[in-house]
Structure formats: C-alpha cells, structure tokens
Symmetry: C2
Subunit: 220 residues, 2 copies
C-alpha cells in the first residue's frame, strides 16, 4: 500500500476567495490538470464512489485525491488502496474548504504530471456550497436514504454543482424516495445540471459517471 500524507490546513487570511479560486483554475488548466470538487452530506458515499471510479479511470489518467475531513484518516487509507496519490487534509474544525485551503492541499499533494485531482470536500450540504475552491467542475452526491426533499432544504448546493449523483439506488425498494420528483426539484433549481443514478455498492451507473468525468477532462 502506498503511503499518504496528512496535512493541517488553515483558513485563508485573504478575503478575495473568488480571485484565488480563478487563479487556481487557470494555473491548473495551463498544466492540464483537471480539478473536480465532490460534495455531499456525511455518509452519502463519496469515498465508496471514488473507490469504484478510480480503477475505471487510472489507465487513462494520472489521478490524485485530496480527502478533506475535520478529523481521522479513514478515507485516505481507503483511497490509497486504489493506487491514486492521496493526501488527507484536516480542516481544524472548519466546515468547508476555501480556495486558499485548496491551494495548500494541492501544493501538499503535488500536482506535477497529474491529469485529474479529485477533492473530496468536508461532509456538509451547507458551507461548502458557499466557497469557490478553484475546481473546474463540481459534483454533488445525494443518497436515497437522505430523502427526495433535500433540494428544497439545501437549494444553494443543488444550484451550484454541475452534476448530481443519486447514490444507493440498490436500496430504493426500502425507502420512500421518488426519483422523478427529486430530479424535477433539482432541475427547477439548476436547469443545466446532469443527473446520474448510481449504486456504488453494485456498480450500477458508475460507467455513466466515469464517462461524464472523461468528457469534462477532454473539454477542459
């Protein structure tokens, strides 16, 4: 198993988050590194989806992963098994990453020769939606057990992301989740969003998600 680093990151002292974010985006584009920011509630399956996705992409792309958490390194340990270059970022209690914190993580990871860097943001539907991290695209995961009413309650998050994965569709029979009503609520907030139904457990739909990533990297 490859080693991974753990890094304590601090909130940027600069107010100009949007400027910092634009600078990160341009600099990464110049070096042909695509940055994807993945957000969700705790336990919706971010890490399991990465465990499924990285093996499908790693022959085409050199991949790095930044695992952001308040505490622990359980996610970084899991992702290291995929062979990706991994860094665990500890946010010191902060509920999100801003552009400056993302830059610290990118510098700690080392993006040289990487085609794709995935930021697994802190598990939270509120704060991460408010900060541009400098990512080229953002994804959100909503899992079936969380309920189809979440777009009504966390509208900013759903309106800001480029793609929504609806995960854990293998347990649809056991939950009262209306896929059509959910997708309509999401499109009401964000008409251009891509919606992909997946099960990280069974692998269903992961090919569509991996195709989406592949297309976005090529169109960067």
């Amino acid at each position: 198993m490859a080693e991974f680093k753990i890094m304590e990151i601090k909130k940027s002292v600069f107010e100009a988050n949007d400027q910092n974010a634009s600078r990160i985006r341009e600099s990464l584009r110049d070096s042909r590194t695509f940055l994807l920011n993945i957000m969700s509630s705790p336990g919706s399956g971010k890490t399991t989806i990465l465990e499924r996705s990285i093996p499908a992409l790693k022959d085409e792309f050199k991949i790095g992963v930044m695992e952001a958490d308040i505490d622990s390194d359980v996610d970084a340990r899991r992702i290291t098994q995929t062979g990706a270059r991994v860094i665990q970022l500890h946010t010191g209690g902060m509920c999100h990453l801003d552009a400056g914190m993302t830059k610290q993580g990118l510098d700690g990871l080392g993006t040289q020769n990487l085609d794709l860097v995935i930021l697994e943001n802190v598990g939270n539907l509120i704060c991460p939606a408010e900060f541009d991290t400098g990512a080229h695209k953002s994804a959100m995961i909503l899992s079936v057990p969380e309920g189809d009413d979440k777009p009504l309650k966390y509208p900013l998050m759903f309106s800001r992301v480029d793609v929504l994965l609806i995960n854990k569709i293998d347990v649809l029979p056991y939950f009262d989740f209306n896929m059509k009503a959910c997708a309509e609520r999401v499109r009401g907030l964000n008409p251009r969003i891509a919606v992909i139904a997946v099960s990280a457990k069974t692998g269903e739909g992961i090919d569509l998600w991996v195709d989406w990533i592949r297309g976005e990297i090529k169109n960067m």
Copy 2:
C-alpha cells in the same frame, strides 16, 4: 391543521454565546420549560422521529417545536400535523443556531405554558456542535445508511451530546453497519452518553427514547 409561523433569524452580534446560553437555560428552568436540541446530518430522520415522539408525549406535556432550516417550510408543515405549537426558523444561510438565534426563536414561538420545547437544528454534523444553544440537553441522530465510521470523522458532535439515537435500524440487513463497533467508538469519545437504537419507520425503540425525554424533563 394548526397554523405555524415562519421567522427569519439573524446571527447574534454578541460574542458571549456561552453567557447567553446560560441565561436562556436558567430562565426556561425557572418557568419549568425543558429545551431539547436535536442535531444530525441531513436526512437522518429528525422530523420523522418527532412525528413518532410527539403523539406519545402530548397528553403529558405541552409541546412546542422550532424547525431550523436554511430554506423551506416542509418540516414545519409536517410537525404541525402532530398538534404541537410550531415555528419555522430560517437561518439565512447559517449552518447552525447560536444562543441568540435560539432566543429569537423561543420569543417567536412563545414558551408560555409549554413544558417541552424541541429545537430541530440545521442538518449538519459540524457547526451545530460548536455552539451552546441554551438547551438543557442535546440529542444526536445517526442513521444506519450513514455508516458506523461517523464518530471517527465528526468527534466533536458525538462528544457533546447527551443521547445518541441510531435510527433506521429497519434497514440494517441492507447496509454494512456494525452496531457494536459504532457504540464502542461513541463511548470512547463520550463515556456517559446514552445510546438508543430506533426505527422511526416501524416505531421500534421509540418507547425507550420517549422514556429518556420523560426522565430528563422530570429531573430538570
């Protein structure tokens, strides 16, 4: 169906959150109103648990509920059906309630003659753990689909609450959730915590949770 209010609340301008919280707690104790703060991730079942609990308590206690959300009034509409006095609090994007915001909510709700006020906090495992709201006791809900590793990743929340409900135990057969390992992790952070396994869907364990509330109100 009874009417409910919707109220926009603002962050307190005062830094002295702990002082404000103590003042709320004492004032409510003087008037024999017990304040219970319930926290969890989005979609772990806070509202459904209240829909189960309030009918079991409403013949003994006069109950009020404060529903805190970024947006929407779906939870307040649901809880109104139980016959409790309900107010929907909109946090203006804030990821938590502090004591000052809680006070605004209590004033808006009107606590006269209420024996029990339940604050359903914003769905978030991070920010709400950092602020004393003035509640006499705090509860947290973790649902089975979120995973048994959550105490490792959000230790502050688990260490601050008086009781943990492990919800959605009806779907245990479909998830890889180790109840014993989870309880051990939680007790490692918080040796005095009560842990109650429930299913808001089937009603299993709700009697134990209702007994816990009953006991805490009597011991206030």
